[in-house]
Amino acid sequence: MLADYVARGLKAGVVAGIAFGAFVALVATPLIRYAETFEHGHGAGPVVSETVTATVSVAGGVLLGILFGGVALGAAFYFLEPMIPGAAGTKSYVLAAAGFITVSGAPWLLFPPQPPGVEQALATDVRLTWYLAMMLVGGLGCGLSGYAYTRLRTSSGRPTAFIGALAAFALVPLVAAFGPANAASGPIPVELATAFRTITVAGQAGLWFVLASVHAWLLRRDRFDTPDDDDDEETALTDASGTVAAD
C-alpha cells in the first residue's frame, strides 16, 4: 500500500517537475542571465559553460519535483493522511502547503531568495546550517498546526480550530527572530531584486500547486477505479432523482 502511495506521489512529481523545469528554462534562466549583466566580473568565473549550467539546472528542476512528489505527496501523505485536516480532495493541497512552508517558506524568513551577484555577510556553511534548522522548525510548525486544528475542531468548532492552527505557526517567525543577521548587498537594482524574489516565490508555490492538483486528480481517479466505491451510490442517486423528475 505504501508502494502505491509513493508511486502516485512520484507520478505527480514527474508532472510538477516538468512544469518546474520549464519554469527554470523559460523564466528563471533568462532572468538570471539578465541579472548577471549587472555583475562586475569577479574572479575566475564559473568552471562550467553556460550551456551545462542551463541544462543541469533544468534537470535539477525536474528532479526537485520528483523528490518533492515522492517524499511529500508519496511517503509523507501515506503516513499522515489520517491526521491531515480537510476532505479527501483538499488533503493534497494542505500537505503541499505544509511542504512549501517547510522547504521554502520557513527558511526564507531568515534568508530570502537572492538574485545572483549578491554578497551575503554570513559564510555559506553557517547559512546552510540555519537553512536546515529552519526547515525543521517549519515542519514542526506545520505538524503542531495540524495537531491543534484537529484537536480544537472536535472540542471548540472550526473558527477556533483555525485560529489555533494559525497560532501554532508563530513558532516559525519566533525562531527566525533568534537567527543571525545576514546583511546582503549587490550590484542589482532594488526593483529587479524584488521582481526576482517575487518570481522565485511564485515558482516554488506553483511547483507545489501543480503537485497537489495532479496528486488530488490521481487520488480521485484511483479511488473511483476501485470497486465498491461511493461512485455507485452517486449513480443510484442520479437514477432516483431522474425517476422523480420523469414522474
Binding site: F23, V24, P46, T53, S57, G61, L80, Q114, T124, G203
Partner: protein, 62 residues
Amino acid sequence: MAISNNSVHGRIEQARMELSATQVAAGLALVAALGFALLFLQEPMVHDSMHNFRHAAGVTCH
C-alpha cells in the same frame, strides 16, 4: 487484520510489515543524497552547474 488502517500508528505498523529495514535504509539514503546534491552540495562543478536552478528555487547557494 487487527491494526486499524485509518490512524497514523496503523499506517506505520503496516509499513513495518511491508518493508524490510534494508529497503527503508536504501529509500532514506536515496532521498537524503538527492536532496543534498540538489540543494546543498558546494563542490565547485556541481555548484556552478546547479547555479541557475538554485537561484530559481530560492536556495541560498553562495
